[in-house]
Amino acid sequence: MTAVLLARVQFALAVGFHFLFPPLTFGLSLVIFLLETVRIRSGNEVARRAVDFLVRILGLIFVVGTATGITLEFSFGTNWSQYARFVGDIFGAPLAAEGVFAFFLESVFLGVLVFGRARVAPRVYWLSSFLVFFGAHLSGLWIIIANSWMQTPAGFAVEGGRAVLTDFWAAALNHSTVVRFVHTVAAGWITGLLFVAGVAGFYLLKGRHSEEAGIMLRVALPVFVVVSFAQALLGHQHSVQVARTQPEKLAAFEALWQGQKHAPLALFGLPMSAKEKTLLYVGIPGLLSWLVHGDAGAYVPGLADFPPEERPPVFLPFISYHIMIALGFVFVALAATALVLLALRRVHQTRWFLWALLVAVPLPHLANQFGWIAAEVGRQPWVVYRVLRTADAASVVVSTGQVLFTVIVFAAVYALIFVVFLRILVALIKKGPAAPEPAPPLA
């Protein structure tokens, strides 16, 4: 294996593992903020116990997210130094801005959330829950800005073999930033909301912590319904953006080997790049053209329209993209069921639905991972789309042996951390919210 391929494996491992945590932080910080708002408005003690419980879990998720996030910042220098030299003008600023504007905010006020309940006034605690929510999302925005610039670069000029910033706002708000940020946040909310709903469902099934579980479901389920439906539209918008700004990536997503009018939407298949064929292909004629252009007769470019050395791989993006979408429809089905049960006021009694919520907890993580695989592998062979090739981005002074060694250590370290993290998470959930404090004796 080459050093570049190993460096890619290492980055994929690091970013894939890291990306289990930030989406959960998005959704959990949202639920915590909403529950804390309930608590400050009505002085609801049940909401307080639910918040305290979820804050403990957020604290655990946040430290693992931080620990694994440092790796990514290091990686741009350690393994991708030619990338860092080329794009430092543009890519470094959002990372620094993330620290200055967002990450400080999130981590400093998370300290207040986890350890400061008894030390600050209720309003300050509520404000802290908002600032953690706000900081987490602002942090995500800067990271999406940086990554979107790699997908649809703008606001720069190449001078002396380096990208030089010419327009900050054009670079930050490039063609894909907004739609990708909204899509990613919605994915994070689905992840966190289903986590909370699944845990609440588990408590109801076991007949434990029923009050806290009730309020967690009351807050999480309606938001989950709205976000899951919205995500279908947001995902569609994102695909349309990809079709416009990275047409060969969309062709890979759809295994569209030849450009055509009445292009079909692929439902299933196993694309074979070598033969430029898709086994077991099932598609709906004209639907892709219609979804992208609003006209079933419109032309959609295929992979053959691009030079062979600029075509992305097809198998992995196709499979990942389709699994992500299939999971998206699972969430829509769950949301539709939830809507009916909420309207009938039968959520608590419908045991199979509570089981379904619990079983669904890991599914958004799969969707998140596959979505990123589709986005990043679909951008290949470029690290910065049509500007810098991945093959030219790796460090030149780091040898294959060096990367092999660190890949192995990372795999071992992350495996250990993941196992311990899961055990602690399960233990925290089993323990559940603290019991209500006994009522003071009557005077």
Binding site: L60, F62, V63, V64, T66, A67, T68, I70, E73, F74, F76, G77, T78, N79, S81, Q82, A84, R85, V87, G88, D89, I90, F91, G92, A93, L95, A96, G99, V100, F101, F103, F104, L105, S107, V108, G111, V112, V114, F115, G116, R117, R119, V164, L165, T166, D167, F168, S395, V396, V397, V398, T406, V409, V413, I417, V420, F421, R423, I424, A427
Partner: protein
């Protein structure tokens, strides 16, 4: 001076400030980690020490992430050269920081492997506390670079005597910072142990400071002729001399400020003798990375300056507020690990 040069100097200073802020804040919790086996004997004492840093260490570490991001944005060539050149050294720092980050939370919940996570906390503090100085020492005294700005040395190049001495100086400085923080936040036997620890590391600090200062003046061209370096060295020594009397009087907050001042002094010395270099080159070409050939473009530096001016005052303000929230001695009743 042209605008771009003014901005380059500004960012040289700002990155120095970020590293100084990191040394002061994460410095005390790294120091607590380094001293942990010596300060805490009983479970109760361990928990008190960990509680003293629990609400704030994560925010402190953000200073490092921000300094790294700022270095990437303002001087991308330095980021690329140093991080790829010092590959394995930085990977060890990274793994140490990863284990350290999870260790406190894991120790609190994973009862069966408590000792493992304590070890992760101590080693995870010790390794970066030493290797940060080693990296800095290399950058100061010079490393072999080719014209393509690539590092041409090996892993052993990094472990030359001068960088190792700077590494040890850094380690002892972090320990000192940890001891004054522990004295500030604890009471009774634990506090007495922290004060005794400060006395024990004071002399090694002085010794290492004088050795590395002498070595720097001998091996770094022009270092002797930098008045700011002499002033800063005097500040470090004065602060060190005052530490003992201040601690004897029980003025623990003043002691913490003194050890923090020492870090500012150390960074001022570095800034003075190193300017305008970022990575000094050593060897045939004599090629160095300076603020002139390693910086990003004018617009990036301007944008970064706006970001820093908008953001950092807020960061300092709310960090100060949260430290006020958690001020005072730690007790076993409060929320924490």
């Amino acid at each position: 001076m042209e605008t771009i040069d003014a901005l380059r100097v500004t960012w040289y200073l700002l990155i120095g400030l970020l590293f100084a802020g990191y040394s002061i804040l994460d410095g005390f919790d790294l120091g607590i980690g380094v001293l942990f086996p010596f300060l805490a004997k009983k479970e109760e004492e361990k928990r008190l020490l960990l509680r003293s840093i629990a609400p704030v260490w994560d925010g402190n570490e953000v200073w490092l992430l921000t300094a790294g991001g700022a270095l990437f944005a303002a001087f991308p060539q330095v980021y690329a050269t140093v991080f790829s050149g010092f590959y394995h050294a930085l990977m060890f720092v990274l793994w140490a920081l990863i284990f350290r980050a999870v260790s406190l939370e894991f120790r609190a919940h994973d009862q069966r492997r408590k000792r493992l996570w304590e070890f992760a906390f101590v080693a995870g503090s010790l390794i970066p506390a030493f290797l940060f100085g080693v990296a800095l020492g290399n950058v100061l005294v010079g490393v072999p670079l080719d014209e393509g700005m690539e590092y041409t040395g090996g892993l052993l190049t990094l472990l030359r005597p001068f960088p190792v001495v700077i590494g040890l100086l850094g380690l002892v400085a972090f320990a000192l910072q940890g001891s004054t923080y522990a004295a500030l936040k604890t009471e009774g036997e634990l506090q007495r142990r922290a004060v005794r620890m400060e006395r024990k590391v004071r002399f090694p600090f002085l010794l290492l400071f004088l050795i590395s200062g002498g070595a720097a003046f001998l091996s770094i061209p022009g270092a002797v002729g930098k008045p700011l370096a002499w002033v800063a060295a005097a500040v470090v020594l004065a602060a060190l001399a005052l530490l003992g009397p201040v601690l004897r009087k029980g003025r623990y907050q003043a002691a913490f400020w003194l050890s923090s001042t020492m870090f500012v002094g150390l960074w001022a010395i570095v800034g003075a003798i190193h300017f305008p270099h970022l990575v000094r080159g050593r060897g045939p070409g004599g090629f160095s990375l300076t603020i002139h050939n390693a910086s990003s473009g004018l617009l990036t530096l301007k944008v970064m300056t706006v970001i820093a001016l908008l953001g950092m005052p807020m960061v300092v303000a709310y960090t100060a507020y949260v430290y006020r929230v958690f001020r005072g001695k730690v007790s076993s009743e409060q929320e924490g690990y």
